[in-house]
């Protein structure tokens, strides 16, 4: 039982990070119908910038949490500027081009960012200094650290904030209007370009937080980290229904838990026939099942509306 509880805890923490990154994918998709494959790299840049600041300050007398906060304070504006820049330079000129052009551009941006990071920060792993308490608490035999609790709470808080922004503010209404029909929203006085820019900026700010979380959680950052994280988060967004905020959160959490339980129990369930090397297969198998029965994801709207 304690093993099962531990796997659920592992899954929820991992899932919270996936969810936060998945929100960035889903927001952009909801408004532009574009899969921003560079989003994973924005997470990586967020982690790298935050760690650069944190490592520079880690020798000083400042308390650990303050240093981490300062790292975030620098990483967030950097990522926001980056997100704005990517949209302005790479996507806006292609907004009326065929969708494939924008998609390939997104992959191109991702390669440029990854290689720039390799040039700036090198091929080495960048480590997170031991500033945060990592001593585990034991709850019914399962280990959970302050950091894990903090990650889940912060992710939840950010998601609630985002839902409030989208559903309860004027800006959110403009965003939803743009998502439904950009042309008509424009006729109603919504400045489409501003709204799209803001969407990228908000998504990138979330990416910066996620980047710091991941690097703090695993204790390291690397110029390559954005790729697989981005892929997983994208999967989570599709699982939940891409374009849908609640779907991204649900998809992220589900994917995290499925991965944990899959890796932990697949060997026992199949009598050793399939080992934990099938953990990704297991997660994607669930994704395929969901898409067969609900092609637009768990909470997604019908695809016909978009296409």
């Amino acid at each position: 039982m304690d093993i099962f509880l531990q796997q659920i805890i592992n899954g929820i923490v991992l899932g919270s990070v996936y969810a936060l990154v998945a929100l960035g994918y889903t927001m952009v998709y909801g408004i532009l119908g574009l899969i921003n494959f560079a989003h994973g790299e924005v997470v990586m840049i967020g982690a790298m910038v935050a760690l650069a600041v944190i490592n520079a300050l880690s020798g000083t007398a400042l308390p650990g949490p303050v240093i981490v906060l300062l790292g975030l304070m620098v990483a967030m504006p950097t990522c926001m500027a980056l997100g704005y820049g990517i949209e302005r330079i790479a996507y806006r000129p292609l907004r009326h081009a065929p969708r494939l052009a924008a998609l390939i551009t997104a992959i191109g941006v991702s390669i440029v960012l990854q290689n720039s990071a390799m040039i700036i920060w090198g091929r080495q792993y960048i480590t997170f200094p031991p500033l945060l308490p990592s001593k585990p608490h034991f709850v019914a035999g399962a280990a959970i650290s302050d950091l894990q609790i903090f990650i889940v709470l912060l992710a939840a808080l950010i998601m609630v904030g985002l839902l409030f922004l989208v559903h309860r503010t004027r800006l959110g209404r403009a965003m939803r209007a743009t998502a439904q029909n950009a042309e008509v929203a424009g006729l109603m006085g919504v400045n489409i370009n501003t709204i799209i820019s803001i969407t990228f900026i908000v998504g990138s700010a979330l990416a910066a937080v996620a980047g710091l979380m991941v690097s703090g959680y695993y204790g390291l950052a690397h110029y390559y980290m954005g790729f697989s994280l981005g892929l997983k988060a994208f999967t989570a967004a599709v699982l939940g229904g891409i374009g849908n905020l609640g779907g991204a959160m649900l998809g992220g959490l589900l994917l995290g838990i499925i991965e944990s339980l899959g890796a932990g129990y697949i060997g026992q369930l199949t009598g050793g026939f399939l080992g934990s090397n099938y953990q990704d297969v297991f997660a994607f198998f669930v994704l395929i099942l969901v898409l067969v029965f609900r092609p637009s994801g768990l909470l997604g709207e019908r695809i016909a509306e978009r296409a």
């Binding site: 531990q6 592992n10 390291l220 932990g264």
Partner: protein, 404 residues
């Protein structure tokens, strides 16, 4: 528009110019010999790949500075670096690319999983291959006369690790994790065999990938069996986070790994949790290598700290050039028999190949992290006997004068 046309033409001209040079094997100054160097230069193992590449580069630069004359012609070596991303598919693509560029020989690849599929392409094209660091057994079992390696294979290493776990670490219950690459899986299999033969119980065989960073799920499963030792067959980029996550789960088993774990980067990633971790690397410890201290100085002044395999890449390149010198030819047909019979003193130890192309001698050294550094614990197995016609080492003193 005009500008960009001009630019495109310049690029085109430059490309054509380069290609022109490429086809030319002799220049006015002499013979140009192209040598490929392949390792993952991007991706999670880029730090290791760059280390290998720098090792080979150092050797080639030294040789070029000597203005060698082979077969009556002045020879200039040109090192062509390629990136295989530690990926078997990419490895075959870059191997073909190097073959198309008419390389004479290849130093590489780093990973066994990349080396094995690429070796078929080099074999078919008649390109000589020396891998500095691929240790999986199958590489030299394919009957390829052109494939060599300068690091002892995993049969020996797995055995030493398995016996060490049972005897010195007194492990009764062992959990094994590998990264499903040719290297990780092969090493874990050999380790399992030796540990079982020693009487230990294998609790679990769990798996991850060479790109993963989250191991909490498999570690949680392993924790349920309460192992004494966790063995990992794979690279430092996974081993580092794995040790940290073990401790964060309250899994206090000892951690044991192979050469992929025994890097400087591992200690950096795992931080305080690296203390007490044991790992092995084939060969002698750096300070006991015959040319170790001299190599260390040269390398570090140029490229910074060594990760793991740079001295082996250096030796691979030097051995290749040595064979060309002794055969007085850069024609693979001529120098290959000489290479197969070569006996020389490298910085990592004496280098001579057996009939399969494996380096002779089976020393494996175990290291433990103490005070943030890898400290050699003991060297097991025997080095190759001194070569009868060994040429003296570069500094003039034969490391074998003592005779062991």
């Amino acid at each position: 528009m005009k500008l960009s046309h001009a630019f495109a033409l310049t690029i085109l001209a430059a490309t054509l110019g380069l290609q022109g040079c490429g086809k030319e094997q002799t220049t006015s100054s002499g013979l140009v010999v192209k040598i490929g160097s392949v390792a993952p230069l991007t991706g999670p193992q880029a730090h290791l790949g760059k280390d290998n590449d720098n090792g080979a580069r150092l050797a080639i630069e030294e040789v070029n500075a000597q203005n060698l004359v082979i077969g009556g012609k002045k020879v200039h070596f040109e090192l062509i670096s390629e990136d295989d991303q530690a990926d078997p598919k990419t490895a075959t693509i870059v191997a073909q690319k190097l073959v198309d560029q008419k390389v004479n020989a290849v130093i590489g690849h780093l990973n066994s999983g990349a080396t094995i599929p690429a070796s078929k392409i080099y074999h078919d094209a008649g390109v000589v291959q020396i891998s500095p660091s691929a240790t999986a057994i199958p590489y030299t079992q394919q009957g390829f006369k052109n494939a060599f390696r300068v690091m002892t294979n995993d049969e020996q290493q797995g055995k030493v690790l398995g016996e060490f776990a049972v005897k010195q670490m007194a492990a009764k219950k062992i959990a094994i994790i590998d990264d499903r690459t040719a290297y990780g899986q092969g090493l874990a299999d050999q380790f399992e065999k030796a540990a079982k033969a020693g009487g230990a119980e294998i609790l679990a065989r769990e798996y991850t990938t060479d790109r993963a960073t989250d191991f909490l799920a498999i570690l949680t499963t392993i924790k349920g069996g309460q192992p004494d030792v966790v063995f990992y067959g794979g690279m430092d980029a996974q081993a580092g986070p794995m040790v940290k996550q073990m401790r964060s789960l309250g899994l206090n088993a000892k951690f044991l790994g192979g050469d992929g774990t025994q890097s400087r980067e591992f200690i950096k990633i795992a931080g305080a949790d690296a203390e007490g971790v044991t790992a092995s690397t084939p060969g002698l410890p750096m300070e006991k290598m015959p040319g170790g201290s001299g190599f260390l100085k040269k390398f570090e002044s140029k490229y910074g700290k060594i990760q793991i395999y740079a001295p082996y890449a250096y030796d691979a390149a030097m051995t290749l050039v040595d064979a060309m010198k002794k055969a007085d030819s850069v024609d693979p047909a001529k120098y290959l028999p000489v290479l197969a019979q070569i006996r020389r003193n490298g910085v990592t130890g004496p280098i001579a190949f057996d009939a399969k192309g494996d380096v002779k001698g089976g020393a494996v050294t175990l290291y433990q992290v103490k005070g943030g550094n890898w400290v050699p614990l003991q060297t097991m197995g025997q080095e190759a006997p001194p070569a009868a016609d060994a040429s003296p080492a570069a500094d003039g003193k034969s490391p074998f004068s003592a005779g062991y």
